[in-house]
Amino acid sequence: MLRYLIKRSLIAVITLLMISITTFWLFFAGSANPAAQMCGAKACDAAKIERINKSLGLKDPIHEQYGRFMSGIFTGREIGEGADAIKCPAPCLGVSFRTSEPVLDIIERGLPVSASIAVGSAVISVLLGVSLGIASALKRGGWLDKFSIGFALTGASLQIFFLGLLLQMVLVYQLKIWDRPRYVPPSEDFLGWLSGMSLPWVTLGVLSAATYARFARAEMLEILSEDFVRTARAKGLTPRAVNIKHALRASLSSIVTIFGLQLGGLLGGAAITETTFDMPGIGKLAVKAVGDDNLPIVMATVLLAAFFVVLFNVIVDAMYAVIDPRVKLS
């Protein structure tokens, strides 16, 4: 088990490295003029731009820049020279071209927002989606099943940005019965946090629930037709025991897999969700950074999102081994 996890983690690290190289190369090699960004509103003269380029090493060969970037993650570094130098402690993901603030600090401000959205909507979507999917598989052909199929199809065809805007338009602005989406830290104002997050949670939660419902239903139907479920019935077990102890138990591993993969991918979709609800999370940060050519922030958000995907892949594999005794991890 341990050896397997180590091997998986190693592959994960290599994957992340490759992603970082690809991203770095694409952005730093192809970009416009970062030095100009650093001047901000008042345009600098050529000499100033030259100086910035030199102090940041923006004209150095790309592999040197990449080397500096990577070593910064592990050891921290000083960016710039002399009086302009910015201290960026490990793990250093660079500094914003705009504000010269370490990227990590900026990310740390956005992370609670994105995490709040992700966790809240994940709870709603799993509870709602999985139970709906399982219930409809057990009562196949009944009204709940029909509803569930319709729900899953509608959800799969709706865009989060459209549904989000629609709900805001109707509930928040027209009927004025729902709080405007906003983020306040739960430590400051817990109820405010709940009510401010509620619309994004419901929207994203219900839409992802459609995915879970569809998946859980298909999985459960497949399991219900398995031989071992027939064996369980042949033993004289009650339908309840057959459904829960035998069928549900067996469908758990794939449901957990989907859950892990969705959760890992949530950050990647945060750009759309957070733009829709105008929430200052990582996704919104990335959208803004792309607009500003603020490459260090773009780089950091892409890496972070990829990190979560890869991390949850490893977690899912480990869970699999715990759930399914047939999986021998070695």
Partner: protein
């Protein structure tokens, strides 16, 4: 002891009363190819048939956009500031919906006009469908081709080739697609810019197609690989190999014909997925830009207006939903027809 089995003897009830199927019926059943059988099943699925026709309608609208423009009388890009009030909002009800030509533009506007520009929303939708479906169908076809080749090669060659392709598939799946595409598209566009730093609308579309193709093949590759691995053990492949058939022959003559069903389903479900993704990128203001009409961008632009002009947001949003829904329903029905054992 012999009595134990003879309990049926006294009754000897035989099912002779059941009406026999007509001979022609039987012959019909026997002579059907798998494709014909699937089509028969598909035709029985009413939701599937309706969604197919709606999808086809969308496709026809996209292809025949210039024709529709001729009949309708106004282009998607005609500015009608004379249809707007001083706040740049459309005159009249529901965002300027009118079925009469008795207005300053001398044209009907069955879905109203845009705020700020006064362009006709119906024509924006029609050309937007062209953008969406053009990108989605092309990108789906390309990523399908990439996926099929990757899957075939991985499964067929095995060994390190298989391991590498598997790793590469995982690697591509680990990319946060939206974020990455979102960051990469402007950069790719700078590469495609002409001398004056301008990027032509066509190049922008190409960029998006490339991005979706590069990130869209992984599911197909896995599917094809799995299918081929299970098909490969079958006798007829063995037989072909024993008869000295080359790899290419086995791949394209023996394996591919057995893969068309899952491939068709993947394609029909890949189109709506790409439409959604493309709309999302446009919503984030990446992707096709003015003056190319685009549904996602329409939704994005409606955000500034949606408290006062709800129709401007509703119309492209609902259109997007309907298009994706009908393609999804069609794809599902197709899968059910091709693989009757699948459980939806």
């Amino acid at each position: 002891m012999s009595d134990t089995t003879s309990s049926g003897q006294g009754t000897a009830l035989e099912p002779g009363t059941a009406p026999e199927p007509k001979a022609e019926n039987k012959a019909a059943l026997v002579g059907r190819s798998p494709g014909q059988l699937a089509w028969m099943r598909f035709k029985r699925d009413r939701v599937g048939v309706v969604s197919m026709w709606i999808s086809v309608t969308f496709l026809i609208v996209a292809i025949a956009a210039p024709l529709i423009e001729m009949v309708y009388g106004q282009s998607a890009t005609t500015l009608n500031s004379n249809l707007l009030n001083d706040d740049s909002r459309p005159l009249g009800v529901l965002g300027g919906i009118t079925f009469s030509t008795d207005n300053p533009s001398n044209n009907i506007h069955i879905l109203g006009v845009e705020p700020r520009t006064g362009r006709d929303i119906f024509m924006q939708l029609v050309y937007g469908a062209r953008t969406s479906l053009g990108i989605a169908v092309t990108a789906s076809l390309i990523s399908l081709a990439i996926g099929v080749v990757m899957g075939l090669v991985a499964a067929y060659r095995g060994g390190w080739v298989d391991s590498f392709i598997n790793w590469f598939t995982d690697f591509m799946l680990a990319f946060p697609f939206v974020l990455f595409a979102f960051a990469a598209i402007p950069i790719v566009n700078t590469w495609l810019a002409d001398d004056k730093g301008e990027v032509s609308p066509f190049s922008r579309v190409i960029t998006i197609i490339v991005v979706f193709s590069v990130f869209g093949w992984m599911g197909t590759a896995r599917l094809v690989r799995g299918q081929v691995l299970s098909l490969r053990e079958r006798e007829y492949i063995e037989a072909a190999r024993a008869a000295g058939a080359g790899t290419g022959h086995i791949l394209f003559r023996q394996l591919l014909p057995n893969l068309w069903a899952p491939i068709l389903v993947t394609l029909s479900l890949g189109v709506p997925a790409t439409v959604t993704g493309e709309a999302a990128l446009s919503f984030l203001n990446i992707g096709v830009t003015e003056p190319t009409p685009d549904w996602g961008r329409m939704v994005n632009e409606s955000v500034a207006w949606y408290q006062v002009e709800p129709m401007y947001m509703l119309i492209p949003g609902v259109a997007l939903f309907l298009l994706v829904l009908s393609f999804n329903l069609f794809g599902d029905a197709l899968r059910d027809a091709l693989d009757p054992k699948s459980t939806k």
